[in-house]
Symmetry: C2
Subunit: 66 residues, 2 copies
């Protein structure tokens, strides 16, 4: 398992939290959004997912990974 913390712009409310965490869950990763720090902590299996896929998944929800 790999843990990364990503800085993500545009997450403002509980719906955004659900969108990002839900999308990560759908691809088999575990995400934890913290609105105050504009971060997403992601835990994923590096044998199944790449960091690139994680980033794309978040961006597909309409947010910018910086």
């Amino acid at each position: 398992m790999q843990n990364v913390t990503l800085e993500v712009e545009g997450m403002t409310c509980g719906h955004c939290v659900n969108s990002v965490e839900g999308a990560l869950k759908n691809i088999g990763a575990k995400g934890q959004v913290e609105l105050a720090t504009k971060t997403v902590k992601v835990q994923f299996d590096e044998n199944k997912l790449t960091l690139e896929t994680i980033k794309e998944t978040i961006e597909e929800q309409g947010y910018d990974v910086v």
Copy 2:
């Protein structure tokens, strides 16, 4: 038809727009959220709905009508 513009706190993103406009649509009103001005323009049939119901519907979505 009656038109009112309500000031609403807490709407921050497109999901919030969808929540508020969707909830109003569900009760038969027409809402238009403007995030920049924190307002919701609502058009409704005063023979079928009251302003109190409109406000409650918005607040049930988690926002404060001020």
